[in-house]
């Protein structure tokens, strides 16, 4: 668990990362360090490359036709794009939560148990139960669903579904959790619950979150990176980015002057 790593240790290191989608140069030599135990927010206008960068970290771009990733990306110093890396194992270490809650059409229990089962994390049923309960608890969902674990995950409200997806992501004890606009389909209360959860989770996980809500970035993250037209423009402490950004482009974006 990276909670044991000293705070500030570099968890994910990107150096000169370029991504091409066919002819489109989507990400241009990005250097960015993500520290263990921090919440890093990625912001920028649509098409700026923030989601592309996020998806490089667990090799989701491998699934896109014509996508080419060059440069160096490491997780705890290990090359994420090394041929020897097992992508399934990588994605167990680097979990992901998507914009739209996407629970499996299975029971609430099975949604959370799915990962631990395929990765063989539990030796018996009792251990699996333990993992499912703990994950639901950590995701702040247990109290709401403990009496209906056998019901379908798709029957939950949008906010509950998203927390179920977070429970599913943390069930395999990942080290890093990637979140791609996790609250954009949620109402303010459900959003607040997810944000509260992010605040609790970052004690044990490193979190990278893409968000279009500047207020959300300001509320949940310790550091913020601003992307524009495929380039990383500025990265800094969240407080500094939102009160006194150093780059005119950052200033223009966060104050609503271009978009």
């Amino acid at each position: 668990m990276n909670a044991l790593l000293p705070l500030g240790t570099i968890k994910v290191k990107a150096q000169g990362v370029n991504v091409h989608y066919g002819d489109k140069h989507a990400l241009q030599s990005v250097d960015l360090d993500i520290r263990a135990g921090e919440v890093m927010a990625l912001i920028g206008p649509s098409g700026c490359g923030k989601s592309t960068f996020l998806r490089c970290i667990n090799r989701m771009n491998d699934l896109v036709d014509g996508a080419r990733v060059t440069g160096s990306l490491t997780l705890d110093g290990e090359d994420i794009y090394d041929r020897a890396i097992d992508v399934v194992q990588l994605r167990a270490r680097v979990g992901m939560v998507f914009q739209k809650p996407n629970p499996f059409p299975k029971s609430i229990y099975d949604n959370v148990a799915y990962g631990p089962r395929i990765h063989g994390l539990a030796r018996d049923q009792a251990e699996l139960d333990e993992i499912v309960m703990t994950s639901l608890e950590k995701a702040g969902l247990l109290a709401e669903v403990k009496d209906r674990l056998a019901e379908s995950g798709t029957g939950l409200s949008g906010g509950q579904q998203q927390r179920l997806c977070i429970a599913r992501a943390i069930a395999v004890s990942p080290e890093v959790i990637l979140m791609d606009e996790p609250c954009s389909a949620l109402d303010p209360i459900a959003t607040a619950k997810v944000e509260e959860l992010i605040d609790e989770l970052h004690e044990n996980f490193t979190i990278v979150i893409v968000t279009h809500s500047m207020q959300q970035a300001a509320r949940v993250s310790q550091r913020t990176a601003f992307f524009h037209l495929g380039k990383l423009i500025e990265v800094g402490d969240t407080e500094q980015i939102f009160t006194n950004p150093q780059q005119p482009l950052t200033q223009g974006y966060i104050t609503g002057r271009f978009g």
């Binding site: 300001a218 006194n244 950004p245 609503g256 002057r257």
Partner: protein
């Protein structure tokens, strides 16, 4: 500054700046009228200054509530956030300056009913210097001129030096002629209040610096001794 995607936001920010400008102009006029009333023993003018303070307070209220509205509705960031938070601070400083001007006018009324015993020239000179600083810092605010603001910030020391000289003179006056004690004591308070106005002008310069670049002016705030002891 006028280039937000949402145009009405630009209008609101410039409205905020324009109320501050109006309030600043008003406080500046209040101060110079009060000084003039003191110098010319003008009861009527002093009364007008006293009555005029309510208008400065109203503008302060208007700015506070408008700024809170902007914070709530626009959720400003970066330079916009600093502009609004700075406006809240600057408005408070100007409101205090207005209070001191009104107090000066009240004391002028008292002095006008006493024989012209203690000399007011030193106090008037001090007030003129502070008026200049106030005018400069308000101009700097309107022109977003950080250099001018920094010059005001650096000149507060002159105010402190002049204040100390006035203080000494008034003490000597009272020592020589105890009949002047009442008038000279009022003048001492007036001088102290004017010196305070200088401090508030300096605070405005600091707030302006923060609005524009996001930091306080570099270095230690220039500060003379203001306990009235010889330098």
């Amino acid at each position: 500054m006028n280039d937000h995607t949402v145009k009405s936001y630009d209008d609101e920010l410039s409205h905020l700046t324009s109320i501050i400008a109006r309030m600043g102009g008003m406080a500046e006029a209040q101060l110079s009228s009060a000084v003039q009333a003191l110098a010319t023993r003008d009861d009527e003018l002093a009364q007008r200054v006293i009555a005029g303070d309510a208008r400065v307070d109203e503008l302060d209220q208007e700015i506070q509530s408008f700024a809170v509205r902007l914070l709530a509705l626009r959720q400003p960031m970066a330079q916009d956030l600093r502009l609004i938070v700075g406006a809240l601070g600057i408005s408070g400083e100007i409101e205090r300056i207005g209070d001191y001007a009104a107090n000066l006018a009240k004391r002028t009324l008292v002095l006008n009913h006493l024989p012209a015993s203690a000399p007011v020239a030193g106090v008037v000179r001090l007030a003129e210097l502070v008026c200049t600083l106030l005018k400069d810092v308000l101009d700097a605010y309107l022109e977003r001129d950080i250099e001018k603001a920094t010059r005001v910030w650096n000149r507060d020391e002159e105010v402190d030096a002049l204040y100390n000289a006035v203080f000494q003179t008034l003490i000597e006056q009272m020592t020589e002629d105890s009949g002047t004690i009442t008038a000279a004591t009022h003048l001492l308070f007036i001088a102290k209040n004017i010196e305070r106005i200088g401090d508030h002008a300096t605070n405005i310069a600091e707030a302006l610096h923060y609005q524009i670049v996001g930091t306080q002016p570099a270095g230690k705030r220039p500060k003379g001794n203001t306990v009235g002891a010889p330098q």
